[in-house]
């Protein structure tokens, strides 16, 4: 009779891309070599993952920033502690940009009042919620046009941002929103021809994904985090995993980078229905 080991430390992650299996399978083997019995469960979307986390189906979640807020608020309502134990170096101090065509008449973001602004998926913090909130804070009411690719994956998939960028180049929207790194990436891949766009605005820095633990987590959680933080890009066994997951080093989690997203979620009521559902 085969049995699932009961003391395995389980991580929940969203399968936004087939490479996710490769990444966590690699982590599983690496943790096993370092004495931690680690395994993972994949979900097709963050809402299902957060609900499962609240039900105690795994011990640590690899959460998008929006999923972090969903988990934190739901845990708070239940009187359960919620902690961000680690994040990638590349999750810290990101910004989002509002881009227009170089020949557009807009000089400041205020000029975008009433303009068609292409954003990513409705649940994308970086390409939708944060830039729209930032515009709204400045009193700029825009006609947001969503490019919903893989809703439920919180914009992890770049498709929505790229679709919005292409719509900008085709003149179907007057501006588009994207994460700062994609400005160079879209230029490099030719989505933005050289000199074809301008950056009209840039949000203040914010943080992205984190490893979320609810309540006591797991007896080996301390060791898990310690090992995570020790992962070095110089270690040939680890480098491919870090490359695939898009980081050079893990950092301890911090919360100050989520303030803007908390406000955005309040403004747009993005997760109200979810919180009502999970009670």
């Amino acid at each position: 009779m085969l049995r699932a080991p009961s003391d395995t430390l389980l991580l929940g992650a969203v399968a936004y891309d087939p490479k996710v299996v490769t990444i966590w399978e690699g982590f599983r083997l690496w943790f096993a070599e370092h004495g931690v019995d680690f395994d993972f469960v994949l979900y097709s979307n963050y809402e299902r993952q957060v609900a499962a986390h609240l039900n105690g189906e795994f011990h640590v979640a690899w959460n998008s920033p929006l999923a972090w807020i969903e988990a934190r608020r739901a845990a708070l309502a239940r009187g359960v502690a919620c902690e961000a134990v680690a994040m990638r170096d590349t999750d810290q101090d990101l910004t989002s940009l509002v881009i227009v065509r170089a020949d557009a008449p807009y000089r400041t973001v205020a000029d975008l009042a009433g303009a068609r602004v292409g954003v990513g998926a409705g649940d994308s913090p970086q390409a939708t919620l944060l830039p729209l909130h930032w515009l709204a804070e400045q009193g700029v009411a825009v006609d947001a046009r969503r490019f919903d690719v893989l809703v439920g994956k919180h914009g992890d998939h770049v498709g929505g941002e790229r679709d919005a960028a292409r719509a900008l180049m085709r003149g179907e929207v007057d501006a588009c929103c994207l994460i700062d790194g994609n400005h160079a990436a879209f230029t490099k891949e030719g989505t933005f021809p050289l000199g074809a766009v301008r950056v009209l605005g840039q949000t203040p820095p914010y943080d992205h994904c984190n490893m979320t633990v609810l309540g006591d987590g797991h007896p080996k959680m301390g060791r898990f985090v310690e090992l995570l933080l020790s992962m070095s890009w110089d270690d040939p066994a680890v480098r491919p995993l870090l490359e695939m997951e898009g980081l050079r080093a893990w950092r301890p989690g911090r919360l100050e980078g989520y303030v803007a997203l908390e406000a955005a979620v309040d403004r747009f009521g993005t997760i109200d229905a979810f919180l009502a559902d999970v009670g």
């Binding site: 700062d180 160079a184 230029t187 301008r198």
Partner: protein, 393 residues
């Protein structure tokens, strides 16, 4: 540069995504760890692109435009390992599986996946002669179209039938001679690049030989001759030999060695200038294959003297495996005789028979010579040669 003025790289109007990052990287390479590099330029998005680039590269920043040089600046070069030396002298005894397909001497990034090539030691495959042999082989490639295909052929029809039969036999031998090196080619660690190249050009030689022999077979006829059970059984034992050294020994030294004698026989005695020209051109190639086999087996024997016993056993084993077969089939033997006779006159047939008898003893003599080159004494060479397949290859 003074401590008060940190190094600066000026991108002018060049955007970071349009090649500016190369200038930044170059400037970073020239600096020691801990040094600061300030990036200046007039591109409107330089600061934000630089920030995103630094984040992705794992480089800390100070302020909007200044990068801190850390080991992360070395990127994938960090911890990379040299795959031996670039020149043939840089060949190592046992290259790492992680060097994989890399050019010998290249810096291989840490964490490259291991590729397990079954033939991965210098002792098994290497010869210092490989580079020279490859260059010689590459320079000696010839165009099948350059052969005298429009030569008038006016010998008796039965002599042409004999030529067709011999060509039919040659093609199946050359198919074996193509498959064997091609199979080992895929097993040799690419660190031994020159050996791969020799085997590849050898396979290309055989492809060309298959072309000219089959073209000659069908030059004046619609169908080829007979393929015999004994011939195929003999060649099957070559295909079945899994050991590179033993296979080289059986195929290149003994088989192709005997084949070489056969091709020179055809170059001299074939009834028409076209067949003679084909035999000459292909014999030149086969001579190189024999030379390579001798060179790397000689090196292998020097490194591993016990190989001698395995070579003797391989010949004996093959002899026993073929004991129940007919050996060189009557059709090929008779075709060679008629081909060497060139006609039906008694005197010609007698001369043809004498030439074929001489061919067998020339092959035996050649094999013994090559065995002596490998260090076997006269008695061993004579005994081993006598055990070689009667099917020549």
């Amino acid at each position: 540069m003074s401590p008060s003025s940190p190094p600066t790289v000026d991108l002018g109007a060049l955007p970071l995504a349009a090649g500016g990052h190369l200038l930044v990287r170059r400037a970073l390479r020239a600096l020691p760890d801990g040094a600061r590099l300030t990036v200046v330029g007039s591109d409107a998005t330089l600061a934000l692109d630089l920030r995103a680039w630094a984040r992705g590269s794992g480089l800390p920043m100070e302020g909007e435009r200044t990068l801190v040089r850390t080991p992360a600046a070395e990127g994938r070069w960090r911890g990379a390992e040299r795959a031996g030396g670039a020149s043939p002298e840089g060949v190592v005894a046992a290259p790492s599986p992680r060097w994989g397909l890399a050019l010998r001497g290249a810096a291989v990034e840490a964490g490259s996946p291991p590729l397990h090539f079954p033939l991965a030691t210098r002792a098994e495959v290497w010869t210092d002669e490989a580079a020279r042999m490859y260059r010689k082989a590459a320079a000696a490639q010839w165009d099948p179209a350059s052969l005298p295909w429009d030569t008038v052929i006016d010998h008796p029809p039965e002599v042409e039938d004999a030529v067709v039969q011999v060509m039919t036999y040659l093609v199946e031998n050359e198919v074996a001679a193509l498959l064997v090196p091609a199979r080992f080619l895929a097993q040799v660690h690419p660190h031994f690049r020159e050996v791969l190249q020799v085997l590849a050009v050898q396979a290309a030689d055989e492809a060309r030989h298959i072309e000219v022999f089959s073209r000659r077979a069908l030059h004046l006829r619609d169908v080829p001759g007979l393929s015999t059970a004994g011939g195929q059984a003999s060649l099957a034992t070559l295909l079945a030999e899994p050991d590179f050294a033993l296979s080289t020994f059986l195929l290149s030294v003994l088989g192709e060695g005997s084949f070489l004698t056969l091709l020179w026989f055809l170059a001299e005695h074939a009834p028409d200038p076209l067949t003679r020209a084909i035999a000459r051109a292909t014999a030149t190639d086969e001579a190189r294959h024999v030379a390579f086999g001798l060179a790397h087996l000689g090196a292998h024997l020097a490194a591993e003297p016990d190989l001698r016993v395995r070579l003797v056993n391989a010949v004996t084993r093959r002899h026993q495996a073929l004991a129940g077969t007919a050996g060189l089939n009557e059709e090929v033997h008779d075709a060679l005789l008629l081909l060497a006779a060139g006609g039906w006159e008694h005197a010609r047939l007698a001369a043809g028979a004498a030439r074929v008898t001489r061919l067998a003893s020339d092959m035996d003599e050649g094999r013994q010579q090559r065995l002596k080159i490998l260090g076997f004494d006269a008695a061993e060479a004579e005994a081993m040669s006598s055990l070689h397949t009667r099917n020549f290859m």
